[in-house]
Symmetry: C2
Subunit: 152 residues, 2 copies
């Protein structure tokens, strides 16, 4: 006698497994920038974005960090008030704010990045180079599908 409802098990449900994984990874990484540096995830992402591509305007940071403009606007305001970024007016379009790390922001980022990369390496050391390549390929394919659904 089989129970029809027992055919659904959260434990083997792919979206649930990804959520659990993301939660564990995200917590393991977040403690690096929250505990010692008092940054939110949103702030950390904006910092990392500007470290990689200085001078982006808000809209570009939105695209780069996959956050919406409200999140970015608030993170920028907090980071500026803490002195980690400086904003300059774009002479070509005065609606835009060019965002750059301050010296203090660069120093902060230079402290965080090695810790973050070390943590990532520890996570990735559990799998082979080949698996790492497969992982990127597989997650990319699934991501495309998920975005198809959302945009419908």
């Amino acid at each position: 006698m089989t129970n029809k409802k027992s055919m659904f098990d959260l434990q083997t449900f792919m979206p649930y497994r990804v959520a659990v994984l993301e939660n564990a990874i995200s917590n393991s990484i977040a403690q690096l920038y929250t505990d010692k540096f008092k940054l939110t995830r949103s702030e950390w992402r904006v910092l990392a974005a500007l470290g990689n591509k200085p001078g982006m305007v808000g809209k570009e940071v939105v695209l780069y960090t996959t956050q919406d403009k409200v999140q970015v606007s608030r993170a920028v305001i907090r980071l500026e008030s803490k002195g980690f970024i400086v904003t300059t007016e774009d002479p070509n379009d005065r609606r835009n704010k060019n965002l750059c790390l301050s010296k203090k922001g660069e120093k902060l980022l230079a402290q965080i990045i090695p810790l973050i990369l070390e943590q990532e390496q520890f996570l990735l050391d559990s799998i082979s180079e080949e698996e790492r390549r497969q992982f990127v390929e597989i997650t990319d394919k699934i991501l495309v599908r998920a975005r198809e659904i959302i945009s419908k």
Copy 2:
């Protein structure tokens, strides 16, 4: 002339990629139980848990759904007030509440599960059976590491 800070790119940072994937998947699934059935993720997980293993007590649901006892307690209260679950006192230990789906809850779950599984299938149709196996294996390995870090 290379920029040392440009060595860190969010786009290739594994934890960021997993966060983006989880976000997309989770949104694509969530719209199924929020839009039509007005459930939160926490409520959906508790429902699914009880559908799979009726009669669990709160503590077991906590373990099964990877949520903490506060989340579960609140989801249970809401689900009970909506008439989707019924709670009975455990005669052996009156601190425990045995949780079961009501007929209404079973009906609800029976409506949701096919939609959820269809969505999962659409996501998984983007990869081969072999890749699916690899994905589970890889994510399990990374999860173990992430939990090692958190428990430190």
